[in-house]
Symmetry: C2
Subunit: 95 residues, 2 copies
């Protein structure tokens, strides 16, 4: 393997860790939002808010990924966050 | 909506933008890796490298997401990167 390839891969590895940290930080915020909503009796899933988040992300996109690809990736991230909130909710009910 | 909820949502919005930028930065690196491999005649898809990346990410995970969730999300990110390389390759063939 060339040095160039190694260097690029090292940078990808660094970005992977940053992504990991951000994804988990986002998850903690989403959990907190779930708890706030729980106390207010508001529904956790809010499709209007989700659509607004997506639109706001996509309008900031300058590539190279297509909007459709980013929409897919972020929907997966949103879904994972919602599942986490639902797990928390179930656990809260069991206490 | 409470101020607390607004504040949490603002932080999620900031993280969304950071994620967008990192995901696209990763995509640019993956494109560059694809071009280097192209000149070296190496296969773009490298399952051993992908497995190593995943293991390295998952061992750094301290939650709240489960490893299985992160594995799913990162596999989607990897797949999107590979598709981008393949698009580039097809375009290169058409030039």
């Amino acid at each position: 393997m060339s040095n160039k390839l190694d260097e690029l891969r090292n940078r990808v590895d660094e970005i992977n860790v940053q992504l990991l940290n951000l994804i988990n930080e986002r998850a903690r915020l989403v959990q907190e939002i779930g708890r706030v909503k729980e106390t207010q009796g508001v529904n956790r899933y809010d499709p209007v808010r989700e659509r607004k988040m997506l639109d706001s992300i996509l309008e900031k996109n300058d590539g190279p990924f297509e909007k459709s690809t980013l929409q897919h990736l972020f929907k997966e991230i949103f879904k994972a966050g919602l599942e986490l909130q639902e797990d928390d909710h179930r656990k809260a009910l069991l206490v």
